[in-house]
């Protein structure tokens, strides 16, 4: 059996979805995939209830919520961690109680979880850096745009890029920024950098909204666009097409949420699920961007265009 699962729980299950913050659009979309999956599972008689909490960005509150879920004796908890290790203890408490814990996107340190599901953030950074280096022919001045300081995802992506940058001595980092994963602050920061630096050859952006903000800044200041990396944010993909950018993007698929619920139920049903499910990073480049944009209307304007998913994909990933 899988970690945490003791086999004493019977379907239909109650699932707890301990969200760290439900307001951002990425989260909202993720929640959409979760509720859709739960509806499916309800039809199959496997799930009876979904409890959703929103810690409003406060890791302390998230601990409190997970504690309440333990108290309410849910069968499984699906969680995006508000801090990469703050939840360790409460999660291992839950695990001890035989609750299936599936952790995705922002991961915890502890291994006392049923499964962790994520793309590889380090690979994210590495692949992005590789693409940019190739675009620049191994030589040029770049700006690195990071997410907020002090957060592991942002740190992991940045760290993943470092070996690639180290290996290419021709690449010079002019400066780095740390902003929220939002358009306006990224645009503000990039504008100041544009004025301070006449020569910028590329932008290594490690987040979708950051890329959109950067492109907008170049555009508004009338500067020629440079090669830029990013994510599947609809706004960035649309700008990419509209401005004819040299671009590259990957994604953190929102269906990680659905996959997590699916995995939890599978584990409760007695299947052995892998402790770590690595979801490959899809790549969006000039060859595939059109196929993504064709589906753009189905996604919110400030949302993320994620790749298709189905049960077969989930089963394949679980069979790793």
């Amino acid at each position: 059996a899988s970690t945490c699962v003791k086999g004493d729980r019977k379907a239909p299950y109650t699932i707890g979805w301990a969200n760290i913050y439900s307001v951002p659009t990425w989260m909202k979309q993720t929640e959409g995939t979760i509720t859709a999956e739960v509806d499916e599972l309800k039809k199959a008689g496997l799930v009876k209830d979904l409890m959703i909490t929103d810690a409003q960005g406060n890791a302390q509150t998230q601990i409190q919520h997970i504690q309440s879920m333990i108290d309410a004796n849910v069968d499984a908890i699906v969680v995006i961690a508000g801090s990469s290790n703050a939840l360790d203890r409460v999660i291992s408490d839950a695990c001890d109680k035989g609750i299936a814990i599936v952790n995705f996107d922002s991961l915890v340190n502890t291994d006392k979880v049923t499964a962790k599901i994520n793309t590889d953030s380090s690979e994210w950074g590495g692949e992005a850096a590789k693409w940019l280096v190739n675009q620049l022919g191994g030589k040029g001045k770049i700006i690195v745009m990071n997410g907020p300081a002090g957060i592991s995802v942002s740190d992991d992506r940045r760290k993943g890029a470092q070996p690639v940058l180290d290996a290419n001595k021709g690449i010079e980092i002019i400066t780095e920024t740390n902003t929220e994963y939002n358009v306006a602050p990224a645009q503000e920061a990039m504008t100041s950098l544009l004025f301070a630096n006449q020569e910028i050859d590329g932008v290594l952006s490690l987040g979708g909204a950051l890329s959109a903000g950067s492109v907008l800044a170049f555009d508004r200041q009338g500067r020629e666009q440079v090669p830029i990396t990013g994510e599947n944010a609809r706004q960035f993909l649309e700008l990419w097409k509209e401005k004819g950018l040299k671009g590259w993007a990957t994604m953190q698929p929102n269906w990680l949420g659905a996959l997590s619920v699916y995995t939890a139920v599978q584990a409760l049903e007695g299947k052995t699920v892998p402790a770590f499910i690595k979801v490959p990073l899809p790549v969006i480049d000039d060859s595939s961007i059109d196929s993504y944009l064709a589906r753009a209307d189905k996604f919110p304007a400030d949302g993320y265009i994620y790749s298709d998913y189905d049960k077969a994909l989930f089963d394949k990933l679980l069979a790793q």
Binding site: K28, D54, T175, E188, S192, F195, A196, Q198, A301
Partner: protein, 313 residues
Amino acid sequence: MTRVKAILRNPPLLTFLLVALVWLVAGLSLRGFGAYGHLRYLLEIAAVIGIAAAGQTLVVLMGGIDLSVGAVITVTAILLPLLSPAWDPTGLVGVALVLTIAIGIGLLNGAGATFLKVPPIIMTLAMATFLQGMLVLVAGGSAVTVQNPAVLLLGQSRPLGVPAGVVLWVLVSAGMLLLIHRMPIGARFLALGANPLAARLSGVSTTRNTLILYALSGFFAGLAGLLLLGMNRQGYVGIGDPYLLTSIAAVVLGGTSILGGRGTYAGTIPGAILLVTTTALITVVNASPGWRSIMFGTLILALLMISGREARR
């Protein structure tokens, strides 16, 4: 000599001088910082803070604080595309609708503060929470890319080379200075802020003025939201979040007392520019996030020591 002393005793003027000094030093030492385009851009983003801080200035002058500014900005930025009717080619109907909502939110804040006797900080915090909840419903909804021509004009056009947002800010500033210094209601706000009981016994109605005050605060936050939306072309949840603390910081940096009854919008204007300038300055310096944060805080503190000495209580 006495002229110099008068300037040094006039906090808004002193803050202006400080801004000029920072610009001068930064312009000379950092390539590109002093470029006309850059300074113009700084003014443009300062305009958003300045307009959001207009309402905040009034609220703080009257001894309150408005923690719903960020949420109101987000709400207007999100709602405008949804509420702009397609049949209106000017886009003004949507603008009017959204501003009415912003004023309505302000009025609710005011009503809570005067009728329910809830401290403004609690009332506006609760309102911000409430609005967040509403946003969870609306967000991720259909189109939030703005097509509204009025808002796009506001955010994108540059009549005579001056960004429209800066023009709007100049108008707001003129209105604010008029309101505070040349209109009866400004004097009433100040009196209520300094001594509510004495003001009330002098025939100044608390109820009426509190309602007007928070309605104004909602209005200015809404206006800032529209400008921000126009500048970004797209609203998203959380777009207003950074403006809560910055609006308060601009007010206090401008020499307005957080206890109420003393201050002026003339201080908030350079306060907003100062904040934006400091942020830009820190952005172009290459340092680790930790060191940047330290530099930012130290710079604010240093500028404060030069400009913001509070008179002995």
